[in-house]
């Protein structure tokens, strides 16, 4: 491995309360997470000079406005921005904060994601069920009845399954592994054991996806404080050093020869992060990846190089990503069984694992890969973190 200085580090981390009930507006959850993260970092509000904000793509700017800085009581910021890269923003914010810290534009940057899709009178199905332009070109989703991310992802999953001869057992194995992790996490929402049979017996939402192939929306917020590696080392919490960062965006090409469902930007994002950190997939101890749907874990395992292309289904079916397996993935239960806070979900578990504060679910964490994506897996960002300042 290379011996390079970290790019920056995560010094503070916190979440708001998480709930399936309405516990306050999006901005309020964000402020709670921000204040808790600043306290966790052992800093004062006056120490914070950067704020990066990310909202859910299905929320409005009114829900999480840029003047969140006033709500949070932050003053004299030298960096403030709304980051809009869909689900990849959770990781992208940390990347941007790291760059800003390196460039001297800010010393301590708070990054926050917040969402409150569950409000009285609106089901999560309604909240996420609108037609989304996820097929690359806008227009035909509504008249053909393709609603919500679940439908667009199911279309992609079918193609991936066909190509790799996968069955619903392979999808189910992903859900079962995540639930096994969730049972070890006090933060996870889904606390009942899940068997393969339970998965298969759950109703179809959009075939091939059963209910348990889909993530579990909650109301909540995640915030981190990014500083220089040196400043993070002085904090009250173990520093999470950022050694590699990458992004990959390939767009969607709707014609023969382009398998958008299989060749995604995650590979590009991973290559960048590995090169920057001077490590390879074999060096990574665990991965926290965005798992809006079961299929997404399988594909990312391949694209980030943990498994050969087409091999993820059997790998997960063999229990390799579950507790006790050779390569722990989404150790907090992920978005499927833990909580769906978009890019905030892998980010939160990645921080807890890298800090070594994941309790009963703690795994070997010398190198943690944290990855998030947005759209129908069009936009990817990942980072490689470690509790060690030098690799």
């Amino acid at each position: 491995m290379a011996s390079k200085k970290p790019l920056a580090a995560i010094r503070g981390f916190a979440m708001s309360d998480l709930s399936r009930q309405y516990i306050g507006p999006t901005w309020q959850l964000a402020v709670t997470a921000i204040h808790r993260a600043i306290a966790d970092a052992g800093l004062k509000k006056s120490d914070i000079d950067g704020l990066l904000i990310n909202k859910s793509p299905v929320a409005t700017l009114m829900d999480l406005p840029m003047d969140l800085l006033d709500y949070a009581g932050l003053k004299d910021l030298t960096l403030c921005s709304v980051v809009e890269a869909e689900g990849s923003s959770g990781v992208q914010m940390v990347q941007q904060a790291a760059l800003a810290v390196q460039a001297g534009m800010a010393k301590a940057v708070v990054c926050v994601f917040s969402d409150a899709p569950i409000v009285p009178g609106v089901s999560t199905q309604q909240a996420f069920g609108m037609p989304l332009p996820l097929m690359g070109k806008l227009g035909s989703e509504a008249p053909t009845g393709l609603f919500g991310p679940v439908a667009a992802y199911a279309l992609a999953a079918r193609r991936y399954m066909h190509k790799n001869h996968l069955t619903e057992d392979h999808l189910g194995a992903v859900a079962v592994a995540c639930r096994q992790w969730a049972l070890k996490s006090p933060l996870a929402m889904m606390k009942k054991p899940l068997s393969m049979q339970d998965h298969h017996n759950s109703p179809y939402v959009v075939e091939p996806f059963h209910l348990f192939d889909c993530s579990f929306p909650v109301n909540g917020a995640v915030a981190v404080v990014v500083t220089s590696a040196e400043r993070a080392a002085d904090g009250p919490q173990p520093a999470v050093y950022i050694h590699g960062m990458g992004q990959g965006h390939r767009g969607v090409t709707n014609r023969r020869g382009f398998e958008n469902e299989i060749e995604i930007g995650a590979k590009l994002a991973g290559q960048g992060a590995y090169a920057m950190a001077g490590v390879g997939p074999k060096d990574i101890d665990c991965a926290q990846v965005y798992d809006a749907f079961t299929y997404c874990i399988l594909l990312q395992l391949e694209q980030y190089g943990f498994v050969e292309p087409g091999g993820a289904g059997e790998f997960v079916l063999a229990g390799q990503t579950a507790p006790g397996g050779s390569f722990p993935v989404n150790t907090g239960g992920g978005q499927l069984s833990g909580y769906y806070l978009q890019g905030g979900t892998p980010l939160s578990e990645g921080v807890m694992q890298a800090r070594g504060t994941a309790g009963e679910r703690q795994v070997k964490h010398d190198l943690v890969l944290t990855a998030a994506y947005g759209g129908r897996m069009m936009y990817h960002a990942c980072m490689i973190t470690s509790p060690h300042a030098s690799l």
């Binding site: 035909s140 008249p143 053909t144 279309l155 066909h162 939402v205």
Partner: protein, 139 residues
């Protein structure tokens, strides 16, 4: 996320200046897609430039209407009242013989008989106030 226009409750295609000819041509029973004369690449509707060579000379051109199922899903729930009576219904991604892919419903086939690679042929069915919509049928 975008707003849906409805006619008699039926969601209509979401139109913009880049895709309108494709949807307008459905009234004439034509599958209109785009084509780049500079590199002879057929493109899915909505292209401003050729994604293959970057040319802005992209033109509208009629496709054969033949194709195959590239992927498909079956909606067991819907999120829109207009489709409630149709559940479970399919939505497919059709790869035209010329290469572009279109989102459409396949009619005249049981959901269990949908398969990737199955040959399909364009057909037009009226929805809402009699506006024809491009669908596909086995063939």
């Amino acid at each position: 996320m975008y707003d849906i226009t409805r006619i008699k409750g039926w969601p209509m295609p979401v139109l913009n200046e880049l895709n309108q000819p494709h949807f307008d041509a459905m009234a004439d029973g034509k599958v209109l897609v785009q084509h780049c004369p500079d590199c002879d690449t057929w493109l899915a509707p909505g292209a401003f430039v050729c994604e293959n060579c970057g040319s802005t000379a992209v033109q509208w051109r009629e496709a054969s209407g033949r194709g195959e199922i590239y992927s498909y899903v079956v909606m067991h729930r819907t999120f829109d009242p207009a489709f409630e009576a149709m559940v479970p219904y399919n939505v497919c991604l059709i790869e035209l013989a010329e290469g572009p892919r279109l989102l459409a419903n396949v009619v005249g086939v049981a959901n269990n008989d949908l398969t990737i690679g199955r040959a399909v042929q364009a057909t037009f069915e009226k929805v809402g106030e009699g506006l024809p919509l491009l669908k596909f049928k086995p063939g």
